[in-house]
Protein backbone atom coordinates (compact mmCIF):
# COMPACT_ATOMS: atom_id res chain seq x y z
CA UNK A 1 0.00 0.00 0.00
CA UNK A 2 2.80 2.40 1.01
CA UNK A 3 4.64 1.41 -2.15
CA UNK A 4 1.60 2.38 -4.23
CA UNK A 5 1.40 5.73 -2.42
CA UNK A 6 5.07 6.46 -3.12
CA UNK A 7 4.60 5.49 -6.74
CA UNK A 8 1.61 7.84 -6.99
CA UNK A 9 3.66 10.70 -5.56
CA UNK A 10 6.49 9.91 -8.00
CA UNK A 11 4.04 9.98 -10.92
CA UNK A 12 2.65 13.35 -9.81
CA UNK A 13 6.15 14.84 -9.38
CA UNK A 14 7.23 13.59 -12.82
CA UNK A 15 4.03 14.88 -14.45
CA UNK A 16 4.55 18.32 -12.89
CA UNK A 17 8.19 18.33 -14.00
CA UNK A 18 7.27 17.29 -17.54
CA UNK A 19 4.47 19.77 -18.11
CA UNK A 20 5.46 22.67 -15.85
CA UNK A 21 9.25 22.54 -15.58
CA UNK A 22 10.62 20.81 -18.68
CA UNK A 23 13.64 23.13 -18.66
CA UNK A 24 14.91 21.45 -15.47
CA UNK A 25 15.72 18.37 -17.55
CA UNK A 26 18.05 20.25 -19.89
CA UNK A 27 20.85 20.66 -17.32
CA UNK A 28 20.24 17.01 -16.34
CA UNK A 29 20.96 16.04 -19.91
CA UNK A 30 24.20 18.01 -19.81
CA UNK A 31 25.20 16.20 -16.58
CA UNK A 32 25.01 12.94 -18.51
CA UNK A 33 27.17 14.46 -21.23
CA UNK A 34 24.44 15.31 -23.70
CA UNK A 35 24.86 18.79 -25.11
CA UNK A 36 27.62 19.26 -22.60
CA UNK A 37 28.56 22.76 -21.56
CA UNK A 38 31.35 24.45 -23.40
CA UNK A 39 34.75 23.06 -22.46
CA UNK A 40 38.19 24.13 -23.59
CA UNK A 41 38.07 21.43 -26.23
CA UNK A 42 34.68 22.51 -27.56
CA UNK A 43 35.74 26.18 -27.46
CA UNK A 44 38.78 25.29 -29.54
CA UNK A 45 36.53 23.32 -31.84
CA UNK A 46 34.27 26.32 -32.29
CA UNK A 47 37.26 28.50 -33.13
CA UNK A 48 38.36 25.80 -35.51
CA UNK A 49 34.91 25.85 -37.14
CA UNK A 50 35.30 29.55 -37.86
CA UNK A 51 38.78 29.00 -39.28
CA UNK A 52 37.66 26.05 -41.39
CA UNK A 53 34.73 28.04 -42.69
CA UNK A 54 37.13 30.82 -43.59
CA UNK A 55 39.61 28.45 -45.20
CA UNK A 56 36.87 26.96 -47.33
CA UNK A 57 36.95 30.40 -48.98
CA UNK A 58 33.21 30.43 -48.91
CA UNK A 59 32.97 34.13 -48.12
CA UNK A 60 35.63 35.18 -50.60
CA UNK A 61 34.38 33.03 -53.42
CA UNK A 62 30.91 34.35 -53.08
CA UNK A 63 31.60 38.06 -53.00
CA UNK A 64 27.84 38.27 -52.82
CA UNK A 65 27.29 38.60 -49.12
CA UNK A 66 23.60 39.25 -48.57
CA UNK A 67 22.29 42.69 -47.93
CA UNK A 68 22.19 43.78 -44.30
CA UNK A 69 19.70 42.06 -42.05
CA UNK A 70 17.15 44.11 -40.14
CA UNK A 71 18.07 42.54 -36.85
CA UNK A 72 20.57 40.07 -35.45
CA UNK A 73 20.84 38.35 -32.12
CA UNK A 74 23.07 35.69 -30.64
CA UNK A 75 21.52 32.72 -28.83
CA UNK A 76 22.80 29.69 -26.95
CA UNK A 77 21.74 26.16 -27.84
CA UNK A 78 19.89 24.48 -24.95
CA UNK A 79 19.06 21.01 -26.26
CA UNK A 80 18.64 19.18 -29.53
CA UNK A 81 15.96 16.86 -30.94
CA UNK A 82 16.28 13.42 -29.31
CA UNK A 83 14.97 11.18 -32.12
CA UNK A 84 15.90 10.41 -35.75
CA UNK A 85 14.84 12.03 -39.03
CA UNK A 86 14.29 15.49 -37.61
CA UNK A 87 17.03 17.82 -36.53
CA UNK A 88 16.03 20.72 -34.35
CA UNK A 89 17.81 22.89 -31.84
CA UNK A 90 16.17 24.76 -28.99
CA UNK A 91 17.86 28.15 -28.64
CA UNK A 92 17.73 30.82 -25.96
CA UNK A 93 15.99 33.62 -27.84
CA UNK A 94 12.29 33.91 -28.45
CA UNK A 95 9.38 36.28 -28.86
CA UNK A 96 10.78 38.50 -26.11
CA UNK A 97 13.86 39.07 -28.26
CA UNK A 98 11.74 39.69 -31.37
CA UNK A 99 12.62 36.36 -33.00
CA UNK A 100 10.09 35.35 -35.68
CA UNK A 101 9.33 32.16 -37.57
CA UNK A 102 11.45 31.90 -40.70
CA UNK A 103 14.38 33.89 -39.31
CA UNK A 104 17.72 32.78 -40.74
CA UNK A 105 20.17 30.98 -38.43
CA UNK A 106 23.96 31.04 -38.81
CA UNK A 107 27.01 29.95 -36.96
CA UNK A 108 28.53 33.13 -35.56
CA UNK A 109 31.93 33.85 -37.06
CA UNK A 110 33.90 36.33 -34.94
CA UNK A 111 36.63 36.55 -37.58
CA UNK A 112 34.22 37.75 -40.25
CA UNK A 113 33.34 41.42 -40.58
CA UNK A 114 29.64 40.50 -40.80
CA UNK A 115 29.95 38.09 -37.82
CA UNK A 116 27.95 35.63 -39.90
CA UNK A 117 29.36 32.20 -40.58
CA UNK A 118 27.69 29.30 -42.33
CA UNK A 119 23.91 29.04 -42.77
CA UNK A 120 22.62 26.21 -40.58
CA UNK A 121 18.82 26.51 -40.68
CA UNK A 122 15.67 28.49 -40.07
CA UNK A 123 13.53 29.29 -37.06
CA UNK A 124 10.60 26.87 -37.16
CA UNK A 125 8.60 27.96 -34.12
CA UNK A 126 8.91 30.66 -31.50
CA UNK A 127 8.01 30.63 -27.82
CA UNK A 128 8.29 33.42 -25.29
CA UNK A 129 11.94 32.89 -24.34
CA UNK A 130 13.04 30.15 -26.73
CA UNK A 131 12.83 29.18 -30.40
CA UNK A 132 13.06 25.91 -32.28
CA UNK A 133 15.50 25.93 -35.19
CA UNK A 134 15.08 23.48 -38.06
CA UNK A 135 18.57 22.67 -39.31
CA UNK A 136 19.73 21.51 -42.73
CA UNK A 137 20.03 18.00 -41.22
CA UNK A 138 16.26 17.72 -40.78
CA UNK A 139 14.66 15.27 -43.23
CA UNK A 140 11.87 17.79 -43.94
CA UNK A 141 14.33 20.51 -44.93
CA UNK A 142 14.44 21.52 -48.60
CA UNK A 143 16.16 24.53 -50.13
CA UNK A 144 16.95 25.80 -53.61
CA UNK A 145 20.72 26.23 -53.93
CA UNK A 146 23.39 27.07 -56.50
CA UNK A 147 26.63 25.18 -56.89
CA UNK A 148 30.05 26.55 -57.73
CA UNK A 149 31.08 29.67 -59.61
CA UNK A 150 28.83 28.67 -62.51
CA UNK A 151 25.84 28.76 -60.22
CA UNK A 152 24.34 25.40 -61.24
CA UNK A 153 20.84 25.09 -59.80
CA UNK A 154 19.99 22.25 -57.44
CA UNK A 155 17.58 21.28 -54.69
CA UNK A 156 19.19 20.48 -51.36
CA UNK A 157 17.22 17.96 -49.30
CA UNK A 158 17.96 17.59 -45.62
CA UNK A 159 18.60 14.47 -43.58
CA UNK A 160 21.43 12.95 -41.61
CA UNK A 161 23.37 13.24 -44.89
CA UNK A 162 21.94 16.18 -46.83
CA UNK A 163 21.98 15.75 -50.61
CA UNK A 164 22.09 18.03 -53.62
CA UNK A 165 19.52 16.68 -56.07
CA UNK A 166 18.10 17.43 -59.52
CA UNK A 167 21.50 18.39 -60.92
CA UNK A 168 21.51 18.05 -64.74
CA UNK A 169 23.68 15.20 -65.98
CA UNK A 170 25.62 17.57 -68.22
CA UNK A 171 26.41 20.04 -65.42
CA UNK A 172 30.07 20.10 -64.47
CA UNK A 173 30.37 20.13 -60.74
CA UNK A 174 33.44 19.17 -58.80
CA UNK A 175 34.16 18.19 -55.20
CA UNK A 176 34.97 21.39 -53.32
CA UNK A 177 32.52 23.56 -55.27
CA UNK A 178 30.80 25.98 -52.93
CA UNK A 179 27.06 25.55 -52.21
CA UNK A 180 25.05 28.73 -51.62
CA UNK A 181 21.41 29.42 -50.82
CA UNK A 182 19.29 30.56 -53.74
CA UNK A 183 15.77 30.45 -52.35
CA UNK A 184 13.29 33.30 -52.47
CA UNK A 185 12.75 33.32 -48.71
CA UNK A 186 16.47 33.77 -47.94
CA UNK A 187 18.99 36.47 -48.85
CA UNK A 188 20.89 35.31 -51.94
CA UNK A 189 24.35 33.92 -51.51
CA UNK A 190 24.42 32.52 -47.99
CA UNK A 191 27.20 29.96 -47.72
CA UNK A 192 26.02 26.45 -46.80
CA UNK A 193 28.94 24.11 -47.46
CA UNK A 194 30.76 22.51 -50.35
CA UNK A 195 30.28 19.56 -52.67
CA UNK A 196 31.70 16.32 -51.28
CA UNK A 197 30.91 13.32 -53.51
CA UNK A 198 29.09 13.25 -56.84
CA UNK A 199 27.12 10.34 -58.30
CA UNK A 200 24.48 9.64 -60.92
CA UNK A 201 20.96 9.58 -59.50
CA UNK A 202 18.67 6.56 -59.89
CA UNK A 203 17.66 6.39 -63.52
CA UNK A 204 20.90 7.95 -64.68
CA UNK A 205 19.37 11.18 -66.04
CA UNK A 206 20.43 13.45 -63.19
CA UNK A 207 23.32 13.84 -60.79
CA UNK A 208 23.30 13.92 -57.01
CA UNK A 209 25.96 15.04 -54.59
CA UNK A 210 26.61 14.94 -50.89
CA UNK A 211 27.59 18.08 -48.98
CA UNK A 212 30.58 18.69 -46.73
CA UNK A 213 29.84 21.04 -43.85
CA UNK A 214 32.67 22.87 -42.06
CA UNK A 215 31.12 22.21 -38.64
CA UNK A 216 29.64 19.45 -36.49
CA UNK A 217 26.01 20.27 -35.69
CA UNK A 218 26.18 18.37 -32.38
CA UNK A 219 28.99 20.66 -31.21
CA UNK A 220 27.19 23.93 -31.95
CA UNK A 221 26.64 25.89 -28.73
CA UNK A 222 25.94 29.37 -30.06
CA UNK A 223 24.01 30.56 -33.11
CA UNK A 224 23.21 33.88 -34.72
CA UNK A 225 19.59 34.60 -35.66
CA UNK A 226 18.93 37.22 -38.31
CA UNK A 227 16.08 38.69 -40.32
Amino acid sequence: MAERGLLGILIIILAVLLFAQPDLAWPVRSIFGWNAETTDVSRLREENIALRAESAVLHDRLGRIPSEFQSEKTASVFVSYPFNFKNQLLVSAGRNEDVREGDTVFLPDPSSSTKRGIFIGRVESVQEKTSVVQTVFDSRFQLGVRIGEEGIESLMTGGSRPKLTLIPKTAEIRPGDVVIAAAAQLPYGLAIGEVKEIALATGGLLQEATVRFPYDITQVHTVLLAR
Partner: protein
Protein backbone atom coordinates in the same frame (compact mmCIF):
# COMPACT_ATOMS: atom_id res chain seq x y z
CA UNK B 1 11.77 -8.21 -6.64
CA UNK B 2 11.80 -4.98 -4.61
CA UNK B 3 14.47 -3.34 -6.72
CA UNK B 4 12.55 -3.90 -9.94
CA UNK B 5 11.50 -0.27 -10.43
CA UNK B 6 14.91 1.30 -9.64
CA UNK B 7 16.62 -1.24 -11.92
CA UNK B 8 14.18 -0.48 -14.71
CA UNK B 9 14.55 3.27 -14.10
CA UNK B 10 18.32 2.91 -14.41
CA UNK B 11 17.93 0.83 -17.58
CA UNK B 12 15.59 3.49 -18.97
CA UNK B 13 18.11 6.28 -18.30
CA UNK B 14 20.87 4.13 -19.80
CA UNK B 15 18.89 3.50 -22.99
CA UNK B 16 18.13 7.22 -23.33
CA UNK B 17 21.81 8.04 -22.84
CA UNK B 18 22.91 5.49 -25.45
CA UNK B 19 20.29 6.83 -27.89
CA UNK B 20 21.38 10.44 -27.44
CA UNK B 21 25.08 9.59 -27.56
CA UNK B 22 24.56 7.65 -30.81
CA UNK B 23 22.61 10.59 -32.25
CA UNK B 24 25.36 13.05 -31.37
CA UNK B 25 28.15 10.72 -32.50
CA UNK B 26 26.68 9.19 -35.67
CA UNK B 27 23.71 11.46 -36.42
CA UNK B 28 21.47 8.42 -36.17
CA UNK B 29 20.34 5.96 -33.51
CA UNK B 30 17.94 3.10 -32.95
CA UNK B 31 14.83 4.20 -31.04
CA UNK B 32 16.08 2.51 -27.91
CA UNK B 33 13.99 4.55 -25.46
CA UNK B 34 10.72 3.56 -27.12
CA UNK B 35 11.85 -0.07 -27.52
CA UNK B 36 12.83 -0.18 -23.85
CA UNK B 37 9.47 1.16 -22.66
CA UNK B 38 7.58 -1.33 -24.83
CA UNK B 39 9.74 -4.18 -23.52
CA UNK B 40 9.00 -2.98 -19.97
CA UNK B 41 5.25 -3.42 -20.55
CA UNK B 42 5.74 -7.17 -20.02
CA UNK B 43 7.18 -6.71 -16.53
CA UNK B 44 5.50 -3.77 -14.85
CA UNK B 45 2.03 -2.72 -13.78
CA UNK B 46 0.28 0.36 -15.15
CA UNK B 47 1.48 2.66 -12.34
CA UNK B 48 5.10 1.61 -12.77
CA UNK B 49 4.86 1.99 -16.53
CA UNK B 50 3.35 5.47 -16.15
CA UNK B 51 6.19 6.55 -13.86
CA UNK B 52 8.86 5.17 -16.21
CA UNK B 53 7.17 6.75 -19.22
CA UNK B 54 6.93 10.17 -17.55
CA UNK B 55 10.59 9.96 -16.48
CA UNK B 56 11.73 9.23 -20.02
CA UNK B 57 9.45 11.91 -21.50
CA UNK B 58 10.88 14.46 -19.09
CA UNK B 59 14.46 13.52 -19.94
CA UNK B 60 13.82 13.48 -23.69
CA UNK B 61 11.74 16.65 -23.92
CA UNK B 62 13.55 19.39 -25.81
CA UNK B 63 10.89 22.09 -25.89
CA UNK B 64 9.02 24.20 -23.32
CA UNK B 65 5.80 22.43 -24.36
CA UNK B 66 5.31 18.71 -24.92
CA UNK B 67 5.28 18.13 -28.68
CA UNK B 68 3.15 15.61 -30.62
CA UNK B 69 5.94 13.07 -31.06
CA UNK B 70 6.65 13.08 -27.34
CA UNK B 71 2.95 12.56 -26.62
CA UNK B 72 2.98 9.66 -29.09
CA UNK B 73 6.17 8.39 -27.46
CA UNK B 74 4.35 8.33 -24.11
CA UNK B 75 1.07 6.92 -25.37
CA UNK B 76 2.48 4.06 -27.48
CA UNK B 77 3.83 2.03 -24.50
CA UNK B 78 0.57 2.60 -22.59
CA UNK B 79 -1.44 1.40 -25.59
CA UNK B 80 0.94 -1.55 -25.95
CA UNK B 81 0.39 -2.38 -22.27
CA UNK B 82 -3.40 -2.49 -22.74
CA UNK B 83 -3.23 -4.21 -26.13
CA UNK B 84 -0.91 -6.90 -24.77
CA UNK B 85 -3.69 -8.16 -22.49
CA UNK B 86 -5.88 -9.03 -25.44
CA UNK B 87 -3.09 -9.92 -27.84
CA UNK B 88 -3.32 -13.45 -29.25
CA UNK B 89 0.48 -13.61 -29.57
CA UNK B 90 3.09 -14.54 -27.01
CA UNK B 91 5.24 -11.85 -25.44
CA UNK B 92 8.06 -12.16 -27.99
CA UNK B 93 5.82 -11.68 -30.98
CA UNK B 94 3.71 -8.94 -29.42
CA UNK B 95 6.77 -6.95 -28.21
CA UNK B 96 8.34 -7.13 -31.67
CA UNK B 97 5.07 -6.16 -33.35
CA UNK B 98 4.39 -3.25 -30.97
CA UNK B 99 7.87 -1.80 -31.59
CA UNK B 100 7.60 -2.31 -35.37
CA UNK B 101 4.26 -0.46 -35.37
CA UNK B 102 5.18 2.07 -32.68
CA UNK B 103 8.26 3.48 -34.43
CA UNK B 104 6.43 4.64 -37.61
CA UNK B 105 3.46 5.90 -35.55
CA UNK B 106 5.78 8.07 -33.48
CA UNK B 107 7.45 9.52 -36.58
CA UNK B 108 4.08 10.09 -38.26
CA UNK B 109 3.08 12.11 -35.18
CA UNK B 110 6.38 13.98 -35.54
CA UNK B 111 5.42 15.06 -39.05
CA UNK B 112 8.23 13.11 -40.72
CA UNK B 113 7.33 12.78 -44.42
CA UNK B 114 5.96 9.43 -45.62
CA UNK B 115 8.71 9.19 -48.26
CA UNK B 116 11.24 8.79 -45.42
CA UNK B 117 9.40 5.70 -44.18
CA UNK B 118 10.09 3.88 -47.43
CA UNK B 119 13.83 4.44 -47.13
CA UNK B 120 16.10 1.59 -46.02
CA UNK B 121 17.40 3.68 -43.12
CA UNK B 122 13.91 3.97 -41.65
CA UNK B 123 13.16 0.26 -42.09
CA UNK B 124 16.53 -0.59 -40.56
CA UNK B 125 15.68 1.70 -37.65
CA UNK B 126 12.33 0.00 -37.00
CA UNK B 127 13.70 -3.54 -37.35
CA UNK B 128 16.83 -2.72 -35.32
CA UNK B 129 14.74 -1.15 -32.57
CA UNK B 130 12.50 -4.24 -32.48
CA UNK B 131 15.59 -6.47 -32.24
CA UNK B 132 16.97 -4.29 -29.41
CA UNK B 133 13.61 -4.51 -27.62
CA UNK B 134 13.62 -8.29 -27.86
CA UNK B 135 17.18 -8.52 -26.54
CA UNK B 136 16.16 -6.30 -23.64
CA UNK B 137 13.09 -8.46 -23.06
CA UNK B 138 15.34 -11.50 -22.72
CA UNK B 139 17.74 -9.62 -20.41
CA UNK B 140 14.89 -8.41 -18.22
CA UNK B 141 13.51 -11.90 -17.98
CA UNK B 142 16.92 -13.03 -16.74
CA UNK B 143 16.98 -10.18 -14.18
CA UNK B 144 13.36 -10.10 -13.03
CA UNK B 145 12.72 -13.80 -13.43
CA UNK B 146 9.06 -13.52 -14.36
CA UNK B 147 6.68 -11.34 -16.34
CA UNK B 148 3.51 -9.67 -15.16
CA UNK B 149 1.47 -12.14 -17.17
CA UNK B 150 3.68 -15.17 -16.47
CA UNK B 151 3.40 -16.33 -20.05
CA UNK B 152 6.73 -15.50 -21.63
CA UNK B 153 6.67 -18.57 -23.78
CA UNK B 154 2.99 -19.39 -23.70
CA UNK B 155 0.39 -18.84 -26.42
Amino acid sequence: MKLKLPVMGALMVLSIEVQLLCLSSFGWSLDLALATLIAFTAFVNLHELTALTLLSMWLLNWQPAVGPELLAFGLIPLIAFVARKSSPWNIWASTGAFILCGVPIMYLAAGVPLRIMREPQFILNAVGSAAAGLILLWLLYEIVGYTEERRLFAR
